[in-house]
Symmetry: C2
Subunit: 223 residues, 2 copies
Amino acid sequence: MSDVSRIAALLGDPARANILTALMDGRALTAKELAFAAHVSPQTTSGHLAKLTDAQLLSVERQGRHRYYRLFSPLVGQMLESVMALAASASPAPRTWRGPEGLRTARTCYDHLAGRLGVALADSLTEAGHIVLSPDGGETTASGDAFLAEFGAHPADGRRVLCRPCLDWSERRPHLAGRVGAALCHRCLDLGWLQRQRDTRAVAITPAGKRGFAEVFGISCNW
Amino acid sequence: MSDVSRIAALLGDPARANILTALMDGRALTAKELAFAAHVSPQTTSGHLAKLTDAQLLSVERQGRHRYYRLFSPLVGQMLESVMALAASASPAPRTWRGPEGLRTARTCYDHLAGRLGVALADSLTEAGHIVLSPDGGETTASGDAFLAEFGAHPADGRRVLCRPCLDWSERRPHLAGRVGAALCHRCLDLGWLQRQRDTRAVAITPAGKRGFAEVFGISCNW
DNA sequence: CTGATCCTTCGGCCGGCGCCGAGGCGTCCA
DNA sequence: TGGACGCCTCGGCGCCGGCCGAAGGATCAG
């Protein structure tokens, strides 16, 4: 009958939900690794993977005797995020985060930074009076413009919004989006403070980054 | 174990998915009406409603011998939309839309117009050369600025993006968002062309609106 | 008070699905 | 070429959960 229930029923089994959650950061994992993540036997996992692949929630790639599974499209990840956002807000007692730890530390959200690092940056800039964020928008101050220029983060031209808060679903607090958020992210990658992970939305903080974030933003990344 | 599966399992039953879909437009319906929508008996429906309410996906309001159920928060609607978006893209043959018909005709999407009307407006403006939309942004032309001024739709000031496409999940084609989209929506309401429905994101097209949309935009709203 | 309507709870039936053991196929390596 | 490994399919078990009939509180009209 309903398309919704067909998809949702697939997520409704804990083993399958674990599988999808484990893949949320965009990596490709083998069936065995997923069996471990899902806490069920390989045979059972195989059945689940077949269902998820049939429904086009996952895609497979054979490589030798391994099969690598990954999320079929970004839409799948978005849907998972929206379910998680609801689960987080609806659960009586906020639960601890169970997804990949790397995603929680620092990740990209479209073209800007999210996770603990993204939230910490937004906090730092706000406390320093460089930006002002409100629920429906945000702006940079004069000191903020100067600070960004000195840091080398030059927002691109364009009509896109300059600066706005974006609710971080793992931290439940806003991080920084818009042209400023994109420029910051770009600059940190250029400086070698951050490094993209292959096939992943997670980003790694390099030793140089650890020093830099502490000096420039007062953020000690001991997460 | 997983929060995701707890929520998803609730959507995974066809009867419950029907219930939630029927409520997607923000209306409040009685248990009996929902039983009809879900195609199951009132007793069964009662059980489903209890579960959905416990999980804070629905809220209840008693009124005499009736109980009115509605979506607990906009987050629930968003989640449903994201699941539907995926279902639409993943299903082998695109399915026909099964949600409330009113929502498909014309509804608000945040502060702008969506649904058939929203898409038709975007098409009309594009064909007339008043706006240009591309996947990653959009802008108004000189003729468009003049047209909007004459129509009385004055975009608000601010840093928010002026004009951008927003994918319409019921039509699967873009409608118009940004300050221009908001101004258009506001003006149509002011003119009495559209009327908000109580407690609903659906909007009704008035007789005056039907004439107006035909004259000004060349849209005959015979949907 | 009486009957009608709305909704719920209880109890029992039954189908569907998740689970694993056993077995088979393909791949890689020595 | 034999063995180890990764993965899948098949078959049967067991349970969870959806379903409805029956019965009971709540509310409203007359």
